[in-house]
Symmetry: C2
Subunit: 360 residues, 2 copies
């Protein structure tokens, strides 16, 4: 078992990483504040893993909220179902919520934990690779609003995260690949050695080898934890984590959310960010080529779908990372070295958008 300590002052917490950790009572019980527990999960994940969690919680009052599966349910109304369940079963301030599922379950359970009786404890058991390497660290919780994604939320750190590599065997291939996109991102922004390791070990990862997965998750969480610890409230280096995301959000918005997975849009977005970095002279041709090769081997897109350039720029400008109307982008000076800039010449951005669409 690997362990990453996320060090956020008085809110230090561990991420446990390895196969078959899910039902391990010894990992769960030290992080329960009382014998009251509420497991928040969804109707896809519950049949697979809920019984093992319950067995590990024997002796506790365990209530369960199984939400419908899908980003379209990440709303205040669905969060209200969690409050209903907690109040109906008389959960006190000392209760512990357990998020068992992917990013949507984690975000909503975390938001309910942040706001139930002004904040209760929670433990995350992410069941997708994306949630294991992304939502595990950073304390972002929240729900969507009809006028914008993640517009209602709070920062709330979990007591512990349990990232079980064995559960990834039941994850659909596309979702697994979407998680790999974020893993690749960590190498790109902060760790050239890790990027090289990914190039050498992609086959083992795709075969869901536990040792390779554990190492990849450990490195990803450690890199994110290091960045978040430097910048908990997202004012500086934390923006590195958005590599590929401003392009990616525009792709998701243009297509309607749900057609491409978030990780797929980020994959194409990262390829676009590296192409743009090359155009403005920060990178030579080798880095974009290595990324394209790696994304291709992971069955991830390298090109955006066809979107008119003006619409693409307009959607990028609507992203909430925009400050005072200027598009801020995360670009690379080298693999492992990210830079935030709002001074990209428009002509170069247009050239990237034209070059990096499928079929062009």
């Amino acid at each position: 078992m690997q362990k990453v300590e996320v060090d956020l002052g008085d809110r230090r917490y561990p991420i446990y990483i390895g196969p078959d950790l899910l039902g391990d009572q010894n990992l769960l019980s030290p992080h329960l504040r009382s014998r009251q527990v509420c497991v928040v999960t969804n109707t896809t994940v519950a049949p697979l893993y809920l019984e093992r969690i319950k067995a590990a919680l024997s002796g506790c009052q365990v209530d369960v909220v199984a939400l419908p599966d899908g980003e379209q349910y990440k709303t205040l109304e669905t969060a209200n179902r969690i409050y209903d369940a907690l109040l109906t079963a008389k959960h006190h301030r000392t209760t512990t919520l357990i998020a068992l599922g992917g990013g949507v379950v984690g975000d909503m359970c975390g938001f309910a934990a942040a706001t139930y009786q002004r904040g209760v404890n929670f433990i995350q058991i992410p069941t997708t690779l994306l949630a294991q390497v992304d939502s595990s660290v950073g304390g972002k919780t929240g729900v969507n609003h009809p006028l914008g994604k993640n517009m209602i939320g709070a920062f709330h750190q979990p007591q512990a995260v349990i990232a079980d590599t064995a559960v990834l065997r039941t994850l659909p291939d596309r979702e697994f690949a979407a998680g790999i996109a974020e893993v690749i991102k960590y190498g790109l922004i902060a760790d050239a050695d890790f990027f090289r390791w990914l190039e050498e070990n992609m086959a083992a990862l795709l075969a869901k080898d536990d040792a390779a997965l554990s190492l990849a998750i450990e490195r990803s969480c450690a890199i994110k934890a290091d960045i978040v610890a430097q910048d908990e409230k997202e004012t500086g280096v934390r923006a590195w984590l958005n590599l590929g995301h401003t392009f990616g959000h525009a792709i998701e918005a243009a297509q309607g959310y749900g057609k491409w997975l978030h990780g797929e849009a980020v994959a194409a977005g990262m390829a676009m960010a590296l192409d743009l970095s090359k155009r403005i002279g920060w990178l030579d041709a080798e880095a974009p080529e290595r990324l394209a090769d790696l994304l291709g081997r992971a069955n991830l897109p390298v090109y955006a779908p066809a979107i008119a350039v003006e619409q693409f720029i307009s959607l990028m400008s609507a992203d909430k990372k925009v400050l005072d109307g200027k598009i801020r982008l995360v670009l690379l000076k080298a693999i492992g070295s990210a830079v935030i800039t709002d001074e990209v010449p428009r002509a170069d951005l247009v050239a990237t958008l034209e070059a990096m669409q499928a079929g062009t």
Copy 2:
């Protein structure tokens, strides 16, 4: 003008207290983070004071959300109206929310500020005495749920509080008296000299003398700030602030919320807490008599309405201060000296409940 500094580490903020502060641009403008402002108020307060606030914000983008007036609107649905307004008018993370109204407006505006884009700044301009001496300090924000009051919320500190004593002249007498109940509470739990000052100056307070009001608000906020600074997340001494509240919440719940004002229920609850303190031998007869006299002069109830004892105890057990099923109460060892206990003999509690109902 009086000023209390609430010192919560990196979240230090001032409370300005005195007559005619409401429209003072010099108090507001240093606490705005950008030129975007959203004033959250209600339809009762807006006609009285909104124009003066707007005049003090000239040069800013000022949006206004006027909520319906009343505790029954303190819901997630109403909070959602604030999110709608913020998103429709494209408020950024750097916006500042201003709560103009009583406790309900302050709690909802604070909750929206705590959760809009994972947290934005807000300023409180409380227009009731209760809100000035209670919600001004402590960072508690939230909304009610059909199954319990304040069950959904967050801790979120304002940038500043402006407590204008002149606005209390438009406050209905019953609401003013309800605020006085909380002022009396501060004397009881932590400051015998202030309690004596209240005995000597109740007439001036009831006449809404600005100097007397300023002193009473200043002492109340200073006592609460001192307690909250010791115990920001409510694990220890902060529970003192609940003197009378476990009894009071049971009274409110038994009657249906809205029949008695919160401060009225707390007044009777404090009288019950002192009666119980006397029964278990912690107080002699003098302190409950002094309290009953002072509450009477402030036109506040000293006895609970008629409620069956078993129902009363059941409602007290449902209060969220209950830990592991035991009723925790704040009682007094002397005026100015509160103690938290969960070891009150049931027979004494029953005796207090039987003795302290109107008509018994």
